[in-house]
């Protein structure tokens, strides 16, 4: 083995070891302004990569305008747009603030975030709290009075109750919930019903003992009882917390982030630090929730939620969630083939997450950009389909574009092979 190959092999092993050693514990729920590093009152975060206002897709533009209105920074859409164009609103990505956001990823100062601490390395990561199952939500770029009122309830009533419950629990071990859910048909991206239900079960005894007003408790429980996707946001924060310490390992070709903003798809690679390597975002294939909706209405692939695939969940383990195949008219055989195929582009296997219908084999972990480029096997991302203006209109899957892996590999070669 050449020196370079040996260096890469050792670095990749180190990267995966760090990912696997992560112990994500959900420790808190707080308004973003209190905990998200660098957050300010006039800042709005969105899903990565960074993109200038003029190139943004509809859900991002509308979502940011919505957040400006929600925060009371402007009274009208026009005023909000004026402030944004004037540079009075700081716009940045969630990833740049140790955070991830579902869909358009819209996160502003007073919105509550899930705080997950990686106990092994002491770092923390954040994700917006599950907003609701409604198709018209801010996370899909939709903002109106109803959405605003719900966001206020979420921030002022729900989040404090949730925080009290998590505090009373003394934190929640995210990995153990995810490991159980993976054995219950969740791939933990497009399907989180098992994780959400198990969490509900674990939380409830503590929630009853926390000192919250009964009326608030009842409202919070009613919300959680119906929130099938609730835990996705916790999984996302955990994935971000686990991937962060795996960054900046020289010679590592392992992907440490994948994200898309509806225009660009970007990846980060451990050996290449925080630089994003981008390519045009792909289309999402899938099922539209109403017959009048179709590909012509859809935004391109968007959201930070593919942090789940980055850590080896979601589309990388479709085998465990045949129900998700129903969005793309796939079969169990397709799902199993996809999962088996992803072993070829990953460095290792996560024995803590076992796939029942693959006889409890572990899940693939550590996407290697070299292997992606060599094999042409592109990670599948399970995902929602967003309207090109705003709102959720379907669910399905997309492939990560090959070009960003190629760009990253060229940069890697420039940095390490030609040094």
């Amino acid at each position: 083995m050449s020196d370079l190959k040996a260096s890469i092999a050792a670095a990749n092993q180190e990267t995966v070891d760090r990912i696997l050693a992560g112990q994500p514990v959900w420790v808190d729920v707080r308004p973003a302004i209190e905990v998200v590093p660098g957050m300010t009152r006039n800042m709005v975060l969105h899903s990565s990569p960074r993109i200038e206002w003029g190139r943004m897709c509809g859900p991002h533009r509308n979502g940011i305008i919505g957040a400006v209105l929600f925060e009371g920074l402007a009274q009208t859409r026009d005023e909000a747009i004026h402030l944004i164009e004037n540079g009075d609103i700081l716009i940045d990505t969630c990833h740049n603030h140790d955070s991830v956001g579902a869909g358009a990823g819209i996160t502003s100062a007073s919105m509550p975030v899930v705080v997950v601490e990686n106990k092994t390395y002491g770092n923390r990561a954040y994700c917006d709290v599950f907003e609701s199952g409604a198709l018209q939500s801010l996370k899909w770029g939709w903002y109106d009075e109803k959405v605003g009122a719900h966001l206020h309830w979420l921030a002022e009533v729900f989040a404090p109750v949730l925080r009290a419950g998590i505090e009373c629990m003394g934190g929640l071990d995210v990995k153990s919930i995810v490991a159980k859910a993976v054995q219950m048909g969740d791939e933990c991206h497009n399907r989180s019903i098992a994780a959400s239900s198990l969490f509900f079960k674990d939380l409830m005894p503590y929630l009853l003992r926390s000192q919250v007003k009964e009326a608030d408790l009842l409202q919070a429980v009613d919300f959680l009882a119906k929130a099938d996707h609730f835990f996705l946001h916790v999984t996302m924060a955990a994935a971000k917390a686990v991937l962060e310490p795996a960054k900046d390992i020289p010679y590592s070709t392992v992907v440490t982030a994948m994200a898309r903003n509806g225009v660009d798809f970007g990846i980060q690679v451990s050996g290449l630090g925080n630089e994003w390597f981008t390519a045009p975002a792909g289309k999402v294939d899938g099922l539209y929730f109403r017959s009048e909706w179709g590909p012509g209405d859809a935004a391109l692939d968007l959201g930070d939620s593919c942090i789940t695939e980055t850590v080896g969940l979601g589309g990388l383990i479709q085998a465990t969630a045949p129900t998700v195949q129903q969005y793309v008219q796939g079969t169990l055989a397709d799902a199993i083939r996809n999962t088996v195929e992803f072993r070829e582009i990953c460095v290792s296997t996560n024995r803590e997450l076992q796939l029942p219908n693959l006889d409890f084999e572990g899940t693939p972990v550590g996407i290697d950009i070299r292997k992606v480029v060599q094999t042409g096997i592109l990670p599948i991302l399970d995902t929602g389909i967003t309207s090109k203006e705003a709102g959720l209109i379907g669910a399905g899957q997309a492939r990560a574009p090959k070009e960003c892996f190629e760009k990253a590999l060229r940069a890697f070669v420039a940095r390490y092979a030609q040094a």
């Binding site: 048909g185 239900s197 509900f200 408790l217 029942p356």
Partner: protein, 436 residues
């Protein structure tokens, strides 16, 4: 064969096929809804203060396995019919208590199946046909309690908890909710790795999400609420209670259809395995219960400690769940050193002895094919393939010590078909306990 029928064999087969389709239609149309929690004495026809119901076919005291005998004694103590074990045993021997199968009183009971007058039962109504099925809230003391060497007092304590806390709490909640559709609950659970007999972790978690908002509003005291929530948060098998009552409510209207060879009951008492088939109504056909193959929860336990196959929970397989749909729950293969392939093969094998498939219960691992339903005793006898049952393993003296699988014995199906062949008037099965 079929000497008792005044028709050509072909004609008879056609009559059987038609009858089986009719029964299948009844099973498929079932709409089980959890409606209430009631005390056994209030709702079970013929129940008395001194009746002790047990799992499986009828059995005389002297043939009962030790676990069930202990259960009967504990039941007598719990009802305060006696103050001491000796006294309880004497009451049984002097026929001062009535021993009878749960199944013959409209209810079902897991494991030993001990059901007495004061016990709370879940009531599940088959909205299609209007009949009710019941099951005790059977969660016995856990493995640790069994080790405390005082299983008897632990069991009585647990039953008191169910009667005084969980039963009333759930009653308040389910009444407030106005019922809960059990079929859609189980359908979801089947898509989450439950087969709804040995694995109910998804169903139980979903159920807790469904019920908690109502428990909070049921006006029960704070302590009762906390105790109930704590219990449900730990009870991974709780959903089986509803599944069993729903299954019982589902099979009842499919009984007594002339010429119908579909199995309407499978149950075991740790000594005998018994079945009923539709055409022969309430007659039991029995054979020796099999040992259960599986995994013991502690290395100190082994086959020498285990009771034979026991419990009414095989009602789940009778309606096409549990062992019939192992494809849905590969996790259970770990109890028997099996594989995902084996789980798929078993479900396919079970199709071979079943009359239909249930589109309401879809199996993700078989590309959403429906679950097999309607076990045909004819096909069992012809093929020699008997239903496979997922089940817990009971200790000889009582308490759960493992989990695994058992096959139904072929002989009870042969006996049922032999009786069937005697003609419409020839039902020779027994409603009484098999003599020693």
């Amino acid at each position: 064969m079929f000497l008792g029928y005044e028709m050509e064999p072909k004609e008879l087969q056609a009559a059987v096929d038609e009858a089986n389709q009719k029964a299948l239609g009844i099973l498929l149309a079932s709409q089980p809804v959890w409606t209430d929690v009631r005390q056994a004495i209030e709702v079970l026809p013929g129940m008395t203060k001194s009746t002790i119901l047990h799992a499986g076919p009828p059995i005389a005291w002297d043939r009962m396995c030790e676990a069930q005998r202990n259960g009967v004694i504990n039941g007598i103590l719990y009802e305060r019919l006696a103050d001491a074990r000796d006294e309880a045993i004497r009451m049984v021997e002097e026929d001062k208590v009535i021993l009878a199968p749960c199944h013959d009183y409209g209810t079902v009971g897991g494991m030993a199946g001990i059901t007495t007058a004061s016990m709370p039962l879940v009531q599940v109504r088959n909205e299609r046909t209007g009949n009710d099925g019941y099951s005790q809230l059977f969660q016995g003391p856990d493995v640790q309690a069994w080790r405390s060497e005082d299983y008897s007092s632990a069991a009585v304590k647990q039953w008191c908890y169910l009667e005084q806390v969980l039963g009333p709490a759930l009653q308040g909640a389910i009444r407030l909710r106005g019922g809960l559709d059990v079929k859609s609950l189980l359908a979801k659970a089947l898509q989450m790795g439950d087969e709804c007999h040995n694995r109910n972790v998804a169903g139980s978690a979903l159920l807790m999400r469904e019920m908690t908002p109502y428990l909070l509003r049921a006006g029960i005291g704070r302590q009762m609420l906390h105790d109930s929530i704590d219990y449900l948060a730990r009870a991974e098998q709780f959903c089986l209670t509803l599944g069993m009552a729903a299954a019982k409510a589902t099979v009842e209207p499919a009984k007594g259809i002339p010429y119908c060879t579909i199995v309407t009951t499978m149950a075991r008492n740790g000594t005998d395995f018994g079945i009923k088939i539709s055409a022969l109504g309430e007659a039991w056909f029995t054979a020796s219960a099999n040992p259960v193959q599986g995994l013991y929860f502690s290395s100190e336990w082994g086959p020498q400690d285990a009771a034979l196959d026991m419990g009414d929970s095989a009602i789940m397989e009778t309606v096409g769940l549990g062992g019939m749909v192992q494809a849905s729950a590969p996790a259970l293969q770990q109890f028997v050193g099996g594989s995902f392939r084996r789980a798929l093969e078993l479900t396919r094998e079970m199709r071979g002895i079943s009359v239909g498939t249930n589109r309401d219960y879809q199996l993700p691992n078989l590309d959403f094919e429906g679950a097999p339903i309607g076990i045909d005793a004819r096909r069992v006898v012809e093929s020699g393939i008997t239903p496979i049952l997922d089940t817990a393993i009971a200790h000889k003296a009582g308490g759960v010590i493992g989990a695994g699988q058992a096959r139904a014995p072929l002989a009870c199906f042969e006996r049922a078909m032999e009786a069937f062949s005697q003609g419409p008037a020839g039902a020779t099965g027994s409603r009484k306990a098999t003599p020693a």
